[in-house]
């Protein structure tokens, strides 16, 4: 199988890889680049644990061919913090207890981040629709909605 060259930026870092074109973006992120924050939890693009951002959009990285991210900027949960300082959404998750087992959290954080960048003051319904693609079995989602609401109100500033 003829390998394909892939140049892309992940969390601000340029990468050049040679991969089989059938490789999914989530496999590049986890197996080739070793960023294990992004998880996988289903076989049918249903659970959202693999959510990352491509440019300004939240996408399910198990439903994107890695080669399609050529020249794009991919952001994963590991990229939210800036030299050790947590992003507002991360601080809100900590303070509101918006996670328990934490397996869906990286994907959930990226859905929230994308939604807030697109719509800084979302209504509770818009927040719930924004994370409708992310399944969480532990929290019952309300703590996540509270965290998003608090960030939208500006309660968690960038340091």
């Amino acid at each position: 199988m003829e390998k394909q060259r892939l140049k892309l930026k992940v969390n601000g870092q340029e990468h050049e890889l040679y991969i089989n074109p059938k490789t999914l973006l989530v496999e590049v992120i986890r197996d080739h680049l070793g960023l294990t924050g992004t998880k996988r939890g289903c076989d049918t693009v249903s659970c959202g644990a693999c959510t990352v951002m491509i440019d300004d959009m939240a996408v399910k990285s198990c439903a994107v061919l890695a080669v399609q991210a050529e020249g794009r900027h991919v952001r994963t949960a590991e990229g939210l913090e800036k030299n050790g300082k947590l992003a507002p959404i991360q601080k809100a998750f900590l303070d509101q207890g918006s996670y328990q087992c934490g397996f869906c959290t990286p994907g959930m954080l990226m859905s929230c981040e994308a939604l807030l960048e697109e719509n800084p003051a979302p209504s509770p319904e818009e927040i719930r629709e924004g994370i409708e693609g992310n399944i969480c079995r532990c929290t019952g989602y309300n703590s996540i909605v509270r965290a998003m609401g608090a960030v939208a109100k500006g309660n968690y500033r960038e340091e």
């Binding site: 199988m1 003829e2 394909q4 089989n20 074109p21 059938k22 999914l24 076989d43 049918t44 693009v45 959202g48 959510t51 491509i54 959009m57 939240a58 996408v59 399910k60 198990c62 439903a63 994107v64 061919l65 080669v67 399609q68 859905s111 994308a114 939604l115 629709e129 924004g130 409708e132 693609g133 992310n134």
Partner: protein, 291 residues
């Protein structure tokens, strides 16, 4: 596990069409891949060659003029439709349908042509576009042809696309006065696929009588189907409870739903009857302009 394939990335539409002509039945097209990658991962779809048209920005556009009506390029994403101010004003039903389609992540990356070409009869876009009188433009090296969307679907997950053709554009006639469209899918969770779906487009004349009506049923047969006998019940008549019930019963009768773990056939017919009544009523009320 996805089987290996030769990956081709055309820079222009012409390049893509010549690739399709060259590889014919050994190749498949991928754009957003939100449906295709699932079936490929399950090994249900295997292909030697994959033509990736995600990058063809020349096919990503939403334009409208009163003469030609609405034109949407094949690689336009669901989110582009959802967030389009033009559509919010001219075709609000399309924005409403997209908001409840799958998830934000799938809508960010998935394309409208990918959704339509996948041929899943429980898809949301096809019934609504058919109700709007939508057409679909197919292109190949030999040229293009425009097919009413209704005739685009030939069987379960089967379309009129020939081996060297691809969808290039979706067309919708100009907005008609005193016309409105309503759509509802029945599901347990808001953005889930519909157990059944009903779209209704109503045009009324000056006396609010039904001048033209299209009722389209989703997941009620191997393809989206027009409920023609229900439409006949309404044509030329004035709205009324008894009439709407009659239309609902007609639609339930002519549908051909399956029985599966989510709903029995009788229950699907029951839902079609209830939703047809509601959607026709809703479209009728919206079609009558507020004085």
């Amino acid at each position: 596990m996805i089987h290996d394939f030769r990956y081709l990335k055309p820079g222009t539409l012409q390049e893509a069409l010549s690739m399709l002509a060259e590889w014919r039945d050994e190749c498949k097209i991928i754009c957003g891949g939100q449906s295709l990658l699932i079936v490929m991962r399950q090994g249900l779809v295997v292909t030697d060659t994959l033509v990736d048209i995600k990058g063809l920005n020349e096919l990503s556009y939403i334009t409208y003029d009163d003469g030609e009506g609405l034109r949407m390029g094949a690689t336009t994403t669901h989110r582009a439709v959802e967030k389009s101010g033009l559509l919010k004003e001219k075709y609000p039903i399309l924005v409403a349908v997209e908001k409840k389609l799958a998830s934000i992540q799938v809508r960010n990356w998935g394309s409208i042509a990918g959704n339509l070409a996948h041929g899943d009869s429980s898809g949301d876009l096809a019934p609504v576009l058919i109700a709007l009188g939508g057409k679909i433009k197919l292109g190949s090296v030999k040229g293009t042809r425009v097919v009413p969307l209704e005739e685009f679907y030939t069987g379960l997950f089967e379309t009129a696309l020939t081996k060297d053709e691809m969808v290039v554009e979706v067309q919708v006639p100009p907005v008609q006065p005193r016309t409105a469209v309503a759509y509802k899918k029945f599901n347990l969770i808001e953005s889930d696929q519909g157990i059944v779906g009903v779209a209704a487009a109503m045009t009324v004349d000056a006396s609010d009588t039904c001048k033209d009506v299209r009722i389209v049923l989703g997941n009620s047969g191997v393809t989206p189907i027009r409920a023609r006998s229900a439409e006949k019940v309404l044509l030329g008549r004035k709205s009324g409870d008894r009439l709407l019930e009659e239309a609902g019963e007609a639609a339930a009768g002519e549908a051909d739903p399956v029985s599966d773990i989510h709903a029995s056939e009788e229950y699907r017919r029951h839902l079609i009857r209830v939703l047809t009544e509601r959607m026709v009523r809703q479209a009728w009320e919206k079609a009558i302009p507020l004085e």
